[in-house]
Amino acid sequence: MSKNEDIAFEDALKQLEDIVRELEESGLTLDDALKKFETGVKLSRLCHKRLDDADMRIEQLIEGDEGVRTERVEIE
């Protein structure tokens, strides 16, 4: 689950939903259930973290000789 940090919020949320559903539908071995639980907890923390620590980032589209890029800007 080291890749977790790169996972998109949407995917993390979806995975979390899937895990909860799987647990609720049962039929998992204890081992699998515990593994799923562990992953689920990580995902839910990750989702919260994603929502909490993100500050809105504002950039501007810049056209250069080598095409388009973006640059941080302050708006106020």
Binding site: F9, L16, E24, H48, L61
Partner: protein, 404 residues
């Protein structure tokens, strides 16, 4: 053919109202005889140098007018030709009215709308879905002005976990359409290497001339070709532009576009918290179920060795029990026996002999003599004493005892 007036009027009404070239038309002319009735409806005549046309604009339609019509004003009206049976007149039922001068713009708008509609620009099949959780949002609008601020504020409040890329453009005037189209294309170019999830294209409210850039073919084409889903947010709710039709989604205002573009963080937090609770609850249940199962197994199933041990113990117990029972019984018997012995001893005739009593038996039948009638004088008897027999002969028999 003989009609009643009503039948003929009905027929004409039907012919006129079913004619597609008399539906959804725009007519240019000068207003005369304008009256605004207390009912709210407007009645007037449109005229030019050669003809005149009765017009009615009902309350529901004229409520949205941004100006007050008056006699002498040159206007462009849109609506349908209908027949008013009672007076046997045809009239234009006006749904929209613009002061003339920008009538040309309307014409252009309608023409382009028709052309693009025919080319499939507005078809649902081309509409891309707006992502629920965008990470990057492109905004094509004026760098100055309230619109950009409104959009940024809404996003900041609802879901700040995003990256905003602004492509500043002019949003009115000569170059606006070209700049907007260019910005949309550049966003798409950027998106190839640096994905942009959704585009908001828009500006604040204004007159039709001010909004005109969003009615131009250039912008329509750029929006249509955009690989990135486009939310169109031009003007107020009542302003409708070509860009709105082509876009994947039309938002009534720029702020509304921002609300559509991002999810609500608070709601998401709740959703995640809810999932977390379910997760914890479920794992507890999974464990509880297992624990119960283990307990059941422990009670129900016994290892063979345990079973043997148990059996052995049971046997031991039985043996012990038997032993106790037998011993107890023996003890009881022993007691019985000794009591019996004592009784027997007490009852033994020998005891009596010891104390001086003796037993007399007749001879030869050896029956005990306990009455005088058992013997007769001269018969033989035996006397049993402690250590032997004494043979005797009866000499005399007397009834009753002589105690002398």
């Amino acid at each position: 053919m003989l009609y009643t007036v009503h039948e003929l009027t009905q027929y004409i009404k039907q012919r006129i109202e079913d004619d597609p070239s008399l539906c959804n038309i725009t007519v240019r002319g000068e207003i005369s005889n304008f009256t605004h009735h207390t009912s709210g409806h407007m009645y007037f005549t449109l005229k030019d140098a050669h003809s005149q046309l009765n017009c009615v604009m009902f309350r529901g339609a004229n409520m949205n007018l941004k100006f007050m019509p008056e006699s002498g004003l040159k206007v462009v009206c849109s609506g349908d030709i209908a027949v008013y049976e009672k007076r046997g007149v045809y009239q234009l039922q006006v749904r929209g009215m613009q002061p003339d001068g920008i009538g040309a713009l309307y014409q252009a708008f309608e023409q382009l709308k028709k052309r693009l509609s025919e080319r499939g620009f507005f078809d649902d099949a081309h509409k891309k879905s707006i992502p629920v959780f965008p990470e990057t949002i492109g905004v094509v609008t004026s760098r100055t002005g309230a619109v950009l601020h409104d959009i940024l504020n809404v996003i900041k409040r609802r879901f700040p976990a995003v990256r905003i890329i602004i492509a500043p453009t002019r949003v009115q005037g000569e170059d606006a359409a070209r700049e907007i189209a260019h910005a949309i294309r550049q966003m798409n170019r950027l998106s190839i290497t640096d994905p942009v999830d959704v585009l908001i294209v828009g500006r604040g409210g204004g007159s039709i001339e001010e909004l005109w850039a969003f009615n131009e073919l250039e912008v329509a084409e750029a929006v249509f070709e955009s690989e990135i889903p486009v939310i169109s947010a031009v003007g107020h709710e009542t302003d409708v532009t070509i860009c709105d039709f082509v876009a994947d989604l039309r938002a009534p205002t720029p702020s509304a576009a921002a609300e559509i573009a991002v999810p609500d963080q608070e709601q998401l937090e709740q959703q995640i918290a809810g999932l977390h609770t379910r997760l914890v609850y479920m794992i507890r249940r999974v464990i509880d179920v297992r624990r119960e199962l283990v307990m059941h197994l422990e009670h129900g199933v016994v290892h063979p060795r345990d079973r043997i041990n148990q059996f052995r113990q049971y046997t031991d117990e039985l043996v012990r029990q038997m032993h106790t029972t037998v011993t107890h019984r023996l003890e009881l018997h022993r007691k019985d026996l000794s009591m019996l012995g004592a009784t027997l001893h007490a009852l033994s005739p020998l005891n009596h002999l010891q104390r001086g009593y003796s037993i007399v038996r007749s001879v030869p039948d050896r029956s005990v003599v306990n009455t005088i009638s058992s013997v007769s004088a001269g018969s033989d008897v035996q006397i049993l004493v402690t250590d032997g027999e004494i043979g005797c002969q009866v000499r005399e028999i007397k009834e009753g005892w002589n105690h002398e």
